[in-house]
């Protein structure tokens, strides 16, 4: 999902770069404040880890294979601020050294995958952690969060492409979110498998993730954040497909030049396009159902991965660890 150069127009590139810079700056501030000095090298090593991990193939069907993206995994292992820094570093190196993702689109890519994807997915994961206690809940959270992060990032990408006039939103949004809703299943599964393995082998490495130290108010904030992003992701699709039509009507009405670029103005509520309301409802319902189905799968996965792991390894002496 790395957007190359020239797929975004200058104004979108500028706006996304500004948003990304702000978000990364905030994340750096939080990381500097919350991360103990001993963990600083782990950001760099974590970024190298993500890069190397993205090269490990998970075969899907007939020669195709998937791989980990890792935003929510890193957020669950190191915390959301660290995850933003890590994903930013990965994207910067990919862009500069491997021309993977455009330089002018770097801001957009960081925003989509590093901020919206990683943090949005992490918020979703936090909500699941609140629902289900224990390690099964944390694994389920990583699974659901991983899936959600892909869908969110794809939605953001589609909006940016549409705002640039490269592809129409009514095409980009369903296509990209649809594809990534499928790909996201792999991401969720892989993230959950990796997280549960790390939890089994080195549970002490997980203690650094944010959840335990959060105050009640912060938890509520995350829940609200999840609800809002959930709502946006689910409702954006049907609304957005009516935006271009709605805007053209507005443009005709007010005598603007008819450029089909999607601005971020709210669609006029009076313009209920006949026949569209049913579609809106069905699409919204499909979105909610799909998300709930994935959530159920994630919870089942959490149960499945944690239960058999605890029994055989319970009595193993922990003498493997040696300080080199």
């Amino acid at each position: 999902m790395h957007i190359p150069d020239n797929f975004l127009d200058p104004k979108t590139a500028l706006v996304t770069s500004a948003l990304a810079a702000g978000a990364v700056g905030l994340a750096l501030h939080r990381a500097r404040r919350d991360l103990p000095p001993a963990r600083v090298p782990l950001l760099g090593l974590g970024a190298a880890f993500i890069f190397a991990a993205q090269m490990i193939n998970f075969p899907v069907v007939a020669g195709t294979s998937g791989h980990l993206v890792g935003g929510v995994l890193v957020a669950s292992l190191l915390g959301p601020a660290a995850a933003v820094v890590v994903m930013t570093a990965v994207l910067v190196v990919q862009c500069f050294l491997f021309a993977d993702g455009g330089v002018t689109a770097l801001g957009a890519n960081i925003l989509n995958m590093g901020v919206v994807g990683a943090v949005g997915g992490w918020c979703a994961a936090q909500a699941v952690v609140r629902l289900v206690p224990g390690m099964a809940g944390r694994v389920a959270a990583v699974a659901f969060g991983g899936w959600f992060s892909m869908v969110l990032a794809a939605a953001a990408c589609a909006c940016e492409l549409a705002a640039s006039g490269t592809v129409r939103l009514s095409l980009a949004l369903p296509a990209l979110t649809g594809i990534h809703a499928l790909i996201g299943l792999g991401e969720g599964l892989i993230s959950a498998l990796v997280f549960s393995t790390v939890a089994r082998l080195r549970p002490e490495l997980l203690s650094h993730a944010a959840p335990a130290s959060q105050s009640g108010r912060a938890r509520d904030l995350w829940t609200w954040g999840l609800t809002v992003s959930f709502a946006l992701a689910v409702l954006l699709a049907p609304w957005a497909s009516s935006w271009p039509d709605g805007l053209e009507k507005v443009a005709e009405h007010l005598g603007f030049a008819d450029r089909a670029t999607a601005h971020l103005s709210a669609p006029m509520p009076d313009y209920s396009v006949p026949g569209m309301s049913h579609t809106v409802l069905t699409v919204a319902l499909a979105g909610v159902t799909g998300t709930l189905v994935v959530l159920v799968f994630a919870l089942l996965l959490g149960r499945w991965l944690v239960r058999p792991a605890s029994a055989p390894h319970a009595g193993r002496p922990a003498s493997q660890r040696r300080i080199p």
Binding site: P41, E204, A318, S319, R321, R322, I323, P324
Partner: protein
């Protein structure tokens, strides 16, 4: 004379509870070159990490650790770390800067020295290990032997009085070993070398300490210790062939850059 290292009754447990050190006692005088032997898991590396306060990671050590007469406490750490040069087992852990010159300059930079002095020290250190040609090479482009020499240069740049080396010749090919040995032979100051390389110990260290299961089980003349076959075998080592035959290669070989 104040000992370079004095350790009394040092104990240490890993986080999972296993005892790594169970009352280590040793004393090393300045300018001595001492070998530290022991089977895997005997606690050698753990012991070495106590010498500059990296272990224990929380709180004071259980026992006494004195470096040049000073206890290893948070107040003394800056000075102690200036005096102790620790060569880590994996050179990749130690060479964390982008280029060789950057990495060798790290130590002097932490001392707050002025730029010209730092540059001069980097030059001298690289010359001492014959790596001047590779000063601007990225650290990930070096061979294993070059990495080890670069790590040593990084220590020499801040001129520590005590060199502590953890398995300095492991993973080196025979030529690399010979070159590194002749390098070490030329270095002044106190040296404590933890190693499995028994030939190295015989050639460089008149004195040896044998560690097993977190305790010092023998401490004395290298030749005597290593000739004691039952002792060696009892502690996971063996009598090295060098004590039985003459070494076929001359031991002072000038290191070459590859």
């Amino acid at each position: 004379m104040t000992p370079a290292i004095e350790i009394r009754n040092l104990r240490y447990r890993y986080h999972d509870g296993t005892e790594a050190l169970r009352g280590v006692n040793l004393r090393i005088q300045p300018d001595e070159c001492v070998g530290l032997l022991g089977p895997n898991g005997s606690g050698k590396s753990t012991l070495l990490l106590h010498l500059n306060g990296i272990l224990p990671d929380e709180g004071p050590p259980e026992g006494t650790v004195l470096v040049f007469g000073r206890p290893v406490t948070p107040e003394n750490l800056p000075l102690i770390r200036r005096q102790v040069g620790l060569l880590f087992q994996d050179p990749d852990d130690q060479l964390f800067c982008p280029t060789v010159a950057d990495d060798v300059a790290f130590g002097p930079q932490q001392l707050g020295l002025p730029e010209p002095e730092i540059r001069a020290r980097v030059q001298r250190a690289l010359a001492a290990v014959s790596l001047e040609a590779l000063a601007d090479r990225p650290t990930h482009h070096l061979s294993h032997g070059e990495k080890r020499r670069a790590c040593l240069a990084g220590l020499l740049a801040y001129e520590p009085a005590l060199l502590v080396l953890d398995e300095p010749t492991s993973g080196l090919d025979p030529r690399g070993r010979r070159e590194f040995k002749s390098l070490l032979r030329r270095l002044p100051g106190t040296k404590l070398i933890a190693t499995h390389d028994l030939e190295l110990v015989v050639e460089l260290c008149p004195r040896c300490i044998l560690l097993d299961e977190g305790r010092v089980v023998a401490d004395g003349s290298t030749v005597e210790l290593l000739n004691d076959e039952p002792l060696m075998l009892a502690h996971g080592l063996e009598r090295p062939h060098i004590l039985l035959h003459t070494h076929p290669h001359p031991s002072h070989v000038e290191p070459r850059t590859s």
